[in-house]
Amino acid sequence: MTTATPAKPRGLFPKTPRPYVHPYFGGMVLGIVLFLALLLTGNGLGSSGATSRIDAAIVDAISPSHVDNNPYLLKMAGGDKNPLDDWIVPVFFGALLGGFTSGLFNGRLKFETTKGPNISVRTRWLMAFLGGVIFLYGARMARGCTSGQALTGGTTLAAGSWLIMFSIFGSAYALAYFVRKLWN
């Protein structure tokens, strides 16, 4: 006897993806992780700082003299400073590994491109790349991204972080209509 419904994902490494957890549950777990990070280390969560530190390490390896002429890089990589010697770098690599592991156990490891139905894969790649360039430029300007500012700063009641949070969502909502073809 066969049934029309697809088989439920089973086992440790299921072939078909398991559904995502309930948003409130996911949020609660994330909140506990964030609290424990703040409690134990006094630091919250983040990732965009690692991106610029990895950049600084690359520049430092290729052209140390360029670092010496750039005050922004100098702060991270000047002299004998190792730009990777910062808490955010292990958090960055940990997050990559954590995402991978969750994907592995939930059957979501797959090379694919998520996109809106009306754009080509190439357009989606280009837009994702462009979005990354714009987002990280803004994140460095604001001294943190959605994780380091909105999530962590929001939790510690940092006034500037709440402003940044509203700015991010404000501008994304304001622009959403104009780029609706990308997603709908």
């Binding site: 965009s48 990354g132 500012q149 510690t156 500037g160 709440w162």
Partner: protein, 424 residues
């Protein structure tokens, strides 16, 4: 035990396992984001068309959960909030950076950490976003020099929290944010039902229990309140290097060993020391202040001291040194206790107070006579006129006093480097 643990505060090659600890934090972070669906750009973008408000729900549940736990722990005295990194407020670069991030979000479909969760599960768009991120961060590093002045100063308010902005107790702010979040959750469920055409009847009832629990904990945070100055004072520790070794002292030991009392010579020379920015706080009465005070000293009578603490905390603390003074030392010691317990960094006391300053810099001035009847912490001189800072000794000549010897007591406690906290 007092959290956060000192050895966990920063990674360092001296403690290699700190890398493991932060790696585990990152692992849990990435794992949670992926399992909540944040590796899927279509799901993230749906937020902005009101079809599915997963992003808002996850983010705000995380914020309010962490917030009630955090301020609960602070209220119970387990966690020292002054050791928790609070993102510094820069209004101008923050708002512009935020607006730019919003553009990147809706165009790219990710934010930096969600792109990690996405890329690590094989999503090619996630990888492209990550790659673009490296380019964007690089471009910022290359262009920052053209607006560095604006970037580092415009709208700088230092460590500023919402309770200070709205002059409300921390617990009340926490409760208000919890209520706001619950209202937003209710609103998003309505939007999902109407615009996203989602059947909400299968939503777990447990979420209502969770909402109730959140409000209950937030109310408890209001009820517990925040630790009193006294309880924070007894927990203060200061470290000084003695014979090449780090020694930790309590606040009372610092007073007892006179490690926070600086001589008039040191207080004066601080003005000409490039590494520090001294701020003289005169905690005497306005009448005494008008009679005689050191040039540039700010009059904050002791009973009004707590009003200025938020301002002092928002001074760029890297090199600000606060020097408190009374006529002798009694009121200044009280001020030192209050300021230190309020986490104001680098507070010192003028040794012997204004009386000692006058004895040191103005002993030959014929304009004042010793007042032999002065009690403790009263001016030991009588003045012919209330000239304020008009006397010669109020601003000693840097040429005349170019060479002064003193035992240096000021040890700049640097603020935690920006990169030592937050992701700046």
């Amino acid at each position: 035990m007092q959290f956060p643990l000192q050895s966990f505060i920063a990674v360092s090659a001296a403690n290699p396992w700190t890398y493991v600890l932060f790696g585990v934090v990152g692992f849990a972070f990435g794992f949670t984001l992926e399992m909540s669906g944040f590796g899927n750009s279509a799901k993230l973008a749906a937020q902005f068309y009101f079809k599915e408000l997963t992003v808002l729900k996850v983010m705000f549940t995380a914020i309010v959960t962490a917030m009630v736990l955090l301020f609960g722990a602070v209220g119970l005295g387990i966690l020292d909030f002054s050791q928790v990194w609070v993102n510094t407020t820069y209004i101008a670069s923050g708002v512009l950076g935020g607006l730019i991030m919003g553009v990147g979000f809706i165009v790219g479909g990710f934010c930096p950490t969600t792109s990690l969760a996405s890329a690590s599960t094989g999503k090619i768009d996630g990888m492209m976003f990550m790659l673009g991120g490296f380019v964007g961060a690089f471009l910022f590093g290359e262009t920052e020099q053209y607006f560095t002045q604006w970037y580092n100063n415009a709208g700088y308010l230092g460590r500023l929290t919402l309770d200070q902005v709205f002059h409300l107790p921390v617990g009340v702010v926490v409760l208000l944010i919890v209520l706001m979040a619950l209202f937003m959750f209710w609103g998003s469920e309505q939007l999902e039902r109407i615009i996203g055409k989602k059947d909400m009847s299968h939503e777990p009832k447990l979420r209502l229990v969770g909402a109730g629990a959140l409000v209950a904990v937030a109310l408890a945070v209001v009820f517990i309140g925040q630790p009193s100055l006294d309880s924070r004072y007894v927990k203060l520790t200061f470290t000084r290097t003695v014979n090449g070794e780090q020694v930790a002292y309590t606040a009372d030991q610092m007073l007892e060993k006179r490690l926070v009392f600086i001589s008039p010579a040191e207080a004066f020379k601080a003005q000409y020391n490039q590494s520090m920015n001294p701020i003289y706080l005169d905690v005497r009465s306005e009448a005494d202040y008008n009679l005689y005070h050191i040039q540039d000293a700010v009059n904050v009578p002791l009973d009004r001291l707590t009003e200025v603490i938020p301002t002092l905390l928002s001074e760029p603390p890297a090199n600000s040194v606060f020097i408190v003074m009374s006529n002798d030392e009694t009121a200044a010691v009280k001020a030192w206790k209050t300021l230190s317990a309020s986490s104001v960094p680098n507070v010192y006391i003028l040794e012997g107070g204004v009386n000692n300053w006058i004895a040191f810099f103005g002993k030959d001035d014929p304009q004042f006579q010793p007042n032999l009847n002065a009690g403790d912490d009263q001016l030991k001189y009588t003045f012919t006129a209330a000239l304020g800072a008009g006397y010669k000794s109020c601003s000693p000549s840097p040429i005349e006093y170019e060479k002064l010897t003193f035992a240096q007591k000021i040890v700049l406690q640097l603020k935690r480097d920006k990169s030592g906290g937050g992701c700046g």
